[in-house]
């Protein structure tokens, strides 16, 4: 079975593309799938940091494109999840060094090696965006609930529909359910009203996420984290399983107590 190439993009920067890729890739791998995470942000590579694999990089995407090394050799295996691999981006090169057709060629090869290929996308809608969209079978749009992220996501959806004839799925990141319930911030309904695409998942805001990215351990490896469950759910939905939307209220003291006993 050939793998599925999923590109995670957003338009706006800083909404959590890289974090999402790291977590979804880990979650899929923990679910037993063969996963390759590809960093498409050439020149500003981050995914390796978030996944904590920086010190093991020997070759990168541009090396593969320019045929300085065979593709399997550039893949870095993640120790925590044996079926998880990373194809890092080059830090010293530029996005213009790779063409969309070269990305397509690489992904054709990767499809034979994994079930899911997740591509992290650079911010913006220029050349780097074309590079990562061209090989994609499915596209995930990441957005937060603030105006600018929504506006950019909307534009990206428009571009995807116009130029690439794609219908992306949506992941709402850093969703603050407390503010949404109070009516201070857009709720999921309001977001879907504007973007009107299929919702694949909602990741609640969790201040601990910052710590996980900083330490290079994706949240999914931490069983305690609230947001980790959201990522696992999205991974399940990507695999085609029907999972209900999670309850966004953080479990309180008693809930946690009963959870501990029921375990």
């Amino acid at each position: 079975m050939a793998g599925v190439v999923i590109t995670i993009t957003s338009g706006k920067g800083g909404v959590g593309k890289t974090t999402t890729v790291a977590n979804l890739a880990s979650a899929l791998a923990l679910a037993g799938k063969r996963v390759i995470a590809v960093d498409g942000d050439i020149g500003l590579r981050n995914l390796d940091l978030v996944m904590g694999l920086e010190n093991r990089i020997m070759y990168d995407l541009v090396d593969v494109v320019e045929q300085r090394c065979p593709l399997p050799q550039a893949l870095i295996r993640d120790q925590r999840a044996p079926s998880l691999h990373l194809l890092p981006a080059a830090q010293t090169r530029d996005k213009a060094d790779v063409r969309p057709d070269q990305m397509q060629a690489i992904c054709r090869e990767l499809r034979q090696m994994a079930d899911y290929i997740l591509i992290d996308s650079p911010a913006g809608i220029e050349h780097g965006f074309h590079n990562v969209v061209a090989p994609a079978d499915r596209i995930l749009i990441i957005t937060t609930s603030d105006v600018s992220a929504l506006r950019d996501a909307d534009k990206v959806i428009y571009l995807l529909e116009r130029d690439w004839k794609r219908q992306p799925g949506l992941v709402v990141n850093r969703y603050n359910s407390v503010l949404a319930r109070a009516g201070e911030m857009r709720g999921i309904d309001d977001i879907l009203d504007i973007l009107s695409i299929d919702l694949l998942g909602v990741v609640p805001e969790d201040k601990d996420i910052v710590l996980t990215t900083d330490r290079g351990v994706p949240a999914v490896f931490n069983k305690r984290m609230h947001a980790a469950q959201a990522y696992r759910n999205i991974a399940q939905r990507i695999m085609g399983n029907n999972v209900p939307l999670m309850d966004f209220r953080k479990p309180g003291f008693f809930k946690r107590l009963t959870n501990r006993f029921s375990r």
Binding site: R151, A182, G183, E184, D193, I194
Partner: protein
């Protein structure tokens, strides 16, 4: 020469009466736009301005309750040119300078039984069927507006030709039959065909017969009555806007109701404006997303949402069958009559002609509160230009007779 001249005049005049499309106010524009877009009979039900029957018959009704001897002549579609000639000058003077000849909407969808009665009638350029029975006195006494409303056999037919001529609807308490314009004999035979087709379905029901403004004689009403009886239906009530039909029904001992909205009223309700029905529409299906610009000379209908960051620009009107949250610019070429209509009007900016504005927002630091508030006022709204000011109103208040009419 004079004959054709008179015919032309009448044609133009007829167009005037078909001027239902010529909007008086913005609400009329909306209604006419929607009516033009949808081929639904019910749309015309609500538009009070349309004479529901051809003016063949209208004439006799406006002129007064003529006795039954003269009216049959009008039904036979005789080209009574001499009478037209006599009428022409008066008609001519009644034509407002603003009236322009209309062109028929393209490709009228025919009713299912495609044998549309009166179809040939529409093709004739001159409404030679119109024959006022006693023109001189009638014209002298009747107000100008009612005159203009009278003669429109061809054009009113054209404007309305997207409708089914006969509409049969099942109701809980029986059957409602509406009869539109066309020649009576044809209509009758079509009604017979359609009723016999579905006679099993209708059997035993009571019929509410809506005849619009068509004046009928006792004999003609008896024909319908017999026809209905033949297929097992009982004529319950006759609704009409014509005095003549009302009288005939009374004479036959039928239950009947005279409804307002006859010719004089409909004519008074219309005003001179730009001839909108000749212009084109552009229909966009789907959502307009951030960064997308839709710019057309035609009126624009968006079936979908206009998201924030998207722009719609039209020389005519803008209709959004969805949410309008981007930028809308109607009447971009300087049409002050242009309107912007949306189900959910929450735009970043609005502009008609060169007058721009935006929905006034309450001074509040919390967008969320606004979001909540907006959800309360979620009625379709209309934006139009009143002098130098944009006016935004819920559509149902903006109608003639709406609440806003009292405030003005």
């Amino acid at each position: 020469m004079a004959a054709t001249d008179g015919g032309e005049k009448m044609n133009r005049n007829g167009d005037k009466s078909g001027g239902f499309y010529k909007n008086n106010g913005p609400a009329d524009a909306v209604r006419s736009k929607i009516a033009a877009l949808l081929d639904d009979v019910t749309v015309t039900d609500r538009a009070p301005v349309i004479p529901a029957t051809p003016a063949i018959t209208d004439n006799s009704s406006t002129i007064g309750n003529t006795n039954g001897v003269e009216t049959p002549r009008t039904f036979k579609a005789e080209p009574l040119i001499s009478e037209q000639q006599t009428k022409a000058p008066t008609e001519n003077s009644a034509v407002p300078s603003g009236a322009v000849a209309s062109t028929p909407p393209s490709a009228p969808p025919l009713p299912p039984s495609s044998s549309l009665p009166g179809a040939s009638l529409w093709d004739t350029p001159v409404p030679n069927i119109t024959a006022p029975v006693k023109p001189p006195q009638a014209l002298a006494t009747a107000p100008l507006t009612s005159q203009t409303g009278v003669t429109s056999p061809v054009d009113s037919a054209r404007n309305q030709n997207s409708n089914q001529v006969i509409s049969i609807k099942g109701r809980t308490d029986g059957v409602a039959i509406e009869i539109g314009k066309g020649q009576w004999a044809d209509l009758l035979s079509e009604l017979e065909i359609r009723l016999t087709e579905a006679s099993d379905f209708f059997r035993g029901g009571r019929v509410a017969l809506d005849l619009g403004a068509r004046p009928l004689l006792e004999e003609e009403l008896t024909q319908v009555h017999d026809l209905l009886q033949k297929v097992g239906l009982k004529l319950g009530i006759v609704r009409t806007k014509s005095q003549r039909t009302f009288q005939a029904a009374l004479n036959l001992g039928l239950s009947t109701r005279l409804e307002p909205g006859g010719d004089a009223e409909s004519a008074a309700a219309q005003g001179a404006g730009s001839n909108r029905e000749t212009e084109q529409h552009f229909v966009y299906r789907g959502n307009l997303r951030s960064g997308q610009v839709l710019q057309k000379h035609e009126h624009i209908l968006v079936i979908g949402d206009v998201n924030p960051g998207a722009e719609v620009i039209s020389a005519g009107d803008i209709f959004v069958w969805g949410r309008l949250r981007g930028i809308a610019h109607a009447g971009a070429d300087g049409d002050a009559q242009a309107v912007i209509v949306a189900f959910d009007l929450d735009p970043v900016q609005l502009q008609i002609m060169d007058i721009a504005g935006s929905i006034p927002e309450e001074p509040s630091g919390f967008t969320g509160r606004l979001l909540k508030k907006r959800r309360v006022v979620n009625r379709p709204q209309i934006v139009y230009l009143n002098g130098k000011q944009l006016v935004i109103e819920p559509w149902d208040e903006s109608r003639p007779g709406g609440i806003a009419a009292f405030r003005r």
